[in-house]
Amino acid sequence: MADVAIVGAGQSVFSRSCGVSIRELSFEAFKEAMEGLDITSNDIDASIICSAPEYDKQRSPAGLISEYLELTPKPSFYVETVCSSSSTGLRVAWSLVKAGLHRVVAVIGFQKMSELSSREAAERMGRGGDIIWESPFGLTMPAGYAMYARAHMAEYGTTEEHLAKVRVKNSHYGATNPKATYRKELSLEDILNSEVITSPLKKFDCCANADGSSCVIVARGDVAKGITSTPIWIIGLGAATDTMTMAGRESLTGLRCAQEAGKQAYQMAGVKPQDIDVAEVHDCFTISEILAYEDLGFAKPGEGVGLIEEKQTYADGKMPVNVDGGLLSKGHPIGATGGSQIRTIVRQLRGEATEAQVKGAEIGLVHNIGGIGQYGNVTILRR
């Protein structure tokens, strides 16, 4: 099965305000992904551009970015699953290569959230739910995840301190990541004393909007070996969609889209949760990382907090998670996030991570969620 590989992966610096255009921002990730490869733009057979269009000023950015990176006249098109867009892009790239239509495909994710005024961003925030049935009540993305947090607390006794410990860990690793928006270590007290945004989530339980880009170059196996000496193989892909409405959710103690996507990815890869050496999970909020531990089978339902309590998800623990700082430290430029997570795992599997290298990592996992658990992608990679 392992005959599609990632040959290059890059990202820009993530920041609150990048001060450049989306094409220039995308170039930064493209440059890092392409550096050291024995190919040029001419060798890329197709490009998949990933972002959340409601944050774009440019209509149809695919054409613009493909022109700037000189990827024309090869096909370029747009893929969107909100925060999970670039993982969906990777899934599409895999399919195109696997089907024999293309040999080398670039997946470019970007978001320049600072392009919108805070008023425009607040307006977008209000339309993330079902606009007839749920947005008129004032549903926001943090509020949706806060309801998952509250349900998890009621069911399993999870506490605000447990949640804060996720941020303590991720801020620890974010402090050493030169591409992260936030590089300051936070204490448990800093987090617990920060202001309540939507109970029980506080300011430091939430990731921040950011500007950034990511780029992943995917190639057919035989071609990949000619492009790089360190191809990273895509061995498992899973994807699932849950209801748009909160009212349609079967449970608020786990994300069904992640559970389903995880099952598919493990099955395709022929591996189990305990085979994963290092993982990147979608910690848009602290509770999201706890849910991910359980949804991916790193812990049983309700036992995810044990992993953070015992520091098992630190780099030297049993199951290192988000040792690049996660979304909580890096910031969350919607369309770029999945590609950034993939980049981290690629670097880990190549033994090239400069932040916290997990020794001897062979198999890595990326969990990337769109919206309030509407879209789930789980990807398993092997060196």
Partner: protein, 136 residues
């Protein structure tokens, strides 16, 4: 009448399901049931994707539900700035779930997941209307 007066801020108006609003004005929170296969829907659907029928009946949501989760929102999106803080909640009723706000007369300290709820229409300022949960 469409959905133009529904909730604090409405984002769209037209839908086949606008009978919902007529019932709401008359004091009833309604769901739909497919006449052909009996599937029931909330939020209401005007069409049944299971048997492809568009022949649906409305039925009133009565009785007590249970609070599945909630959050007190301190920062609302555009149009909700002066509305916050407000409490969003999910209630489990017989065979369906409802997302709505908790009544403003319930304080956060008095809320417990699992508490009993009823759902009923609520008039909002500026001739707007929604539904909300009260203690059941």
């Amino acid at each position: 009448m469409g959905f133009e007066n529904f909730g604090t801020v409405s984002f769209t108006t037209e839908a086949k399901a606008t009978d919902f609003m007529t019932y709401l004005e008359a004091g009833k929170v309604m769901a739909t049931r497919c006449k052909k296969c009996g599937a029931s829907y909330f939020p209401p659907k005007s069409d049944c994707p299971r048997c492809l029928s568009s022949d649906v009946d409305w039925f009133e949501i009565k009785g007590k539900g249970e609070l599945a989760s909630y959050t007190l929102v301190n920062y609302g999106p555009t149009g909700f700035e002066n509305d916050a803080p407000y409490i969003l909640a999910l209630g489990k009723f017989d065979g369906i779930q409802i997302f709505a706000r908790l009544s403003r007369d319930i304080e956060e300290k008095d809320i417990q997941v699992g508490m009993s709820l009823v759902v009923s229409p609520v008039k909002l300022p500026d001739n707007r209307i929604a539904y909300e949960f009260k203690k059941g």
